[in-house]
Each structure stands twice: as structure tokens, then as C-alpha cells.
Amino acid sequence: MRIGDYKETYAADEAVFRTPTSRFWLGVLFVCLLIFPFLAGDYLLYMANLVGVAVVAAVGLNILTGFAGQISLGHAAFVGIGAYTAAILTTRLNVPFLLCLPLSGFSAAFFGMLVGGPSMRMKGLYLCIATLAAQVIFEFIFMHWESLTGGIRGINLPAPTVFGLALDNEFKFYWATLAVVVICVTAGRNLFRTRLGRAFIAIRDRDISAELMGINLFTYKMYAFAVSSFMAGVAGCLWVNFLKTVTPEHFPLSESIRFLAMIIVGGMGSILGAIFGAIFMTVVPEVLTNVVGMLAEIFPEGMNYLFPLQQVVFGVLIVAFLVFEPHGLAEIWRRVKDYFRLWPFEH
């Protein structure tokens, strides 16, 4: 229970975690994240790594789509560009993992800006379809530029090493993922404490008014595309180093849609929402698989229905959130917090 929040400085009021209670729980969360790998088995750690990658990519997409309002159906392609950049740099030039991370990001950011460039002239649905075209074209390039990407066979790479330590299992890789997640989430949150973040939101809400406020639309849309695809690229680099293989099939349109679904379910225009959404959309299909797997012991044909069932659940989740809770899990979380703020005295 915490009642009243009095602040004596503006700095205290501008802080992200404004009350001692929220700072306390943040600390608890960190301790949990640090203890988690020592308690969890390989499977949970595997899931944690995948969630981490999804969080980085979803935060990136939410910056572009949720905050700046530019719909992208090509986010998976940028994750793919990051992944391929990392794979190629590692296998051909022996670039170390720590250097690969930012380089993959920059490479994805470059292509992101290339795709985002025309967004100065296109808006809304037209831009959305232009990014769809980018997705299809990049997928084609991954598949058919065989000398560079290895075509359908893809590229295999060795386990990454950091300061001579090979990150060759889920436990060791967890720390790399955690570090990247913390950096990306912090950077994303920071962005929206400054004039850049406000400019993004202004562009989303009404681009003409934003321009009247002296915001250069082109520059800021480019920033949004760059930051977003940078994070996608970093996520791709993590992903490829975790799974140690990359093929074109990993980055289809449906993956782009999955990222969009994450920010819808989690909450558009909220960093926390991206995190929630990434966790939710990674864990739910996995839970579903396990449930169907258990049922399959009773009904042997059950596994045949798994894939279509997943599709239906995925679709229902998206539609249900859009219709009933358009602000996503982040909003539900806020309501729960508000409820407990004065608990047990409701009014």
C-alpha cells in the first residue's frame, strides 16, 4: 500500500520509477532474473532466451509502430538481415560476437532507413503495403542470393565466445541475452523521456500538427526506422548465435505478423507492453503445444490439430485484444497496480 506521492524536485517527478515501492519491486525483479538460471532447467532457459530475443525485437517494433505510428509488416525481414549479417561476419571474417551485435544492428538500420526513406511520401496503408513488399523482396534475397546467404541450406556458425568464454549452452547464453535485453529496454525507455520520443508520438497522433511544432517529419521518421530496425538487427544477431543456424524459412511474413501481434497484445505505444507481448506470444503457443501433447496421449490424432489450433488461438487473441482491450496487457497491468495502490482501502 502506498498513499500519496509527494516530490520535492522535478527530477524526482521525471524519474521512470517514481515511488520507493516501484523501485523496490524493480529490484526484486532483477534479483529474480539473476537467480532464475540457477533454478531453471534447460527447457526453461531455452524459452527464456527466445523470449529475450522476442523482447528486443518487439521493443524495436513498438518504437516504430506503436510510438511513431508507422506500420511495418517487414520487421521479421530486418531481424533476418541482422541474423544474416551476424552469420556472414562470423563465418567469413571471424568477427567476434560482441562486435557482431552492433554491426548487425547497423546493417539492419541501414536497410531499415532504405525502406523507410519513401515513407516521407507514403502514409498509412500505402506505407504498410510498401513494407510488405520489402518483406517479400528480402525473403526472396535470403533465399536466392546463394553465394552470400547459402540459399535454402542457410549458414551454420559456431558458438559465440565472449572474452574467451564460449557461450555454448542455454545457461551461458542467458547472460548475453539478459544484458542485451536490459540495454535495449533501457535505451527504448530513455528515448521516450526526451524530445525525440515526444516528436515520435506527435507524428503518430497528427503528423501535420507535429510539423507545425517544428518537427522535421522526414528526419524523425528516419530515426524511428533506424532505431527500430537496429533493435531488430540486434535481436537477429542474438537469435542466430543462440540457434547457431540461419535459413530463409526463419523470417517469413508470418513472423512479422507475430511481432505485430506482440505489440498489439502487449500494448501499443508502451515499452512495458512490448515486453509483456513478447513474453505472452512466445509462451502461449508453447503452453498450447504442451497441452495438446498431453491430450495426444488420450487422443492419438490430437497432434494433427495442433498447428491449425495454434492458428485459431493466435487469431482469436489478436481480435479479442483489439476489440476488448485495445491498450493491451500493459493497460491491464496498470489497472491491477492502481487497484493495489490503495489496497485494501479502495477509495
Binding site: 530513455n190 523521456r193 526526451t194 524530445r195 515526444r198 533506424a226
Partner: protein, 165 residues
């Protein structure tokens, strides 16, 4: 966006924070944001008496307050000249009085030239130093409010002639 963010947005052009310092935040970006917050609080929020609503979402505010926030956003730009298009249109008496008071204060305390278009004659006559009357795009008269008010051409254009005169 909250009222506070909206007003800060007005100061966008005065900011210098770039992409990388924004992502890092601590250091120059934070310094700039804190200075901005102080400035906005002193120059705008305190002045417009909107302390109580600074964390509220603008879209959910009543019309009169929305207009006040709009004025705040313009003030955050630190303008030399302020152009206002019907600042009190659609407001009730109390809101109109508040707005008129702010306009006068901005003009007197900050030496900002204000050019405004308005249909509310009372407000115009009360707060203007000079009035320019237009009739179908043609300039009729320009001068002090009391001069303009009684000028025959204005009376004729806006009130009409006496029948049979």
C-alpha cells in the same frame, strides 16, 4: 499525450538532444530535459494555472482547458509574435475571461506582439490596442477600439443603415 508532454512538445525546436544522447539519456539529454521542465513549469504551467492537470491526457480535458494547453504549447516556443485565430470561440463567459486575461498578460509581461482574429466584440474592444476592420476582404478602418467602434463605415457595414435615412 499528457498536458506536460504537449507543452514540452512546443519547445521542440529549442532542444538539441540528438538520437544517441537520447538513447543514453544520462548526461546532456537529462540536463536538457530538466532545464526544460523547470522552464515549462515557471513560464507556462504556473502562468496558465494548469498545475492541477499537468499529468492529465489532453484529449480528455474540457474544451476551454484544451485551448489553454494549446496556448501553453505556443508559449513554450517562446514566440516574438503570437497569431491567434479566434482564441475564445465557443467558450463560456468564465473561460473567455481567463483567456482574455492570459492574452493581456502575455502581451504586457513578455512583450509579445499578439495578432488575433475574433468575433467576440466585447473581448476585442476590451483588450485590443489597435483594431482593423475588414468587410468582405476589404480593409475598412484601422485604429483604437473606441475610434473604430463609432466609425460610420463600420456601423454601416456591420449594423446596417437606418431605414429611409
Amino acid at each position: 499525450m499528457t498536458v506536460l508532454d504537449n507543452i514540452k512538445l512546443g519547445a521542440h525546436a529549442h532542444g538539441k538532444t540528438g538520437l544517441f544522447s537520447a538513447l543514453w539519456y544520462w548526461g546532456s539529454a537529462q540536463r536538457e530535459e530538466m532545464e526544460l521542465r523547470h522552464r515549462v513549469e515557471e513560464e507556462v504551467i504556473d502562468f496558465l494555472e494548469i498545475e492541477a492537470i499537468r499529468k492529465r491526457s489532453v484529449g480528455a480535458l474540457p474544451y476551454g482547458l484544451q485551448k489553454r494547453v494549446e496556448l501553453g504549447r505556443a508559449l513554450a516556443m517562446r514566440p516574438k509574435v503570437l497569431l491567434m485565430d479566434e482564441p475564445v470561440a465557443g467558450m463560456n463567459a468564465e473561460e473567455t475571461e481567463d483567456m482574455a486575461r492570459f492574452i493581456l498578460d502575455i502581451n504586457e509581461e513578455r512583450n509579445v506582439t499578439i495578432v488575433l482574429i475574433e468575433h467576440d466584440m466585447k473581448v476585442i474592444m476590451d483588450i485590443s490596442e489597435r483594431v482593423l476592420v475588414l468587410n468582405f476582404g476589404r480593409k475598412l478602418v484601422e485604429g483604437r477600439p473606441d475610434e473604430v467602434q463609432t466609425h460610420p463605415e463600420v456601423v454601416q457595414a456591420y449594423l446596417g443603415e437606418k431605414k429611409g435615412a
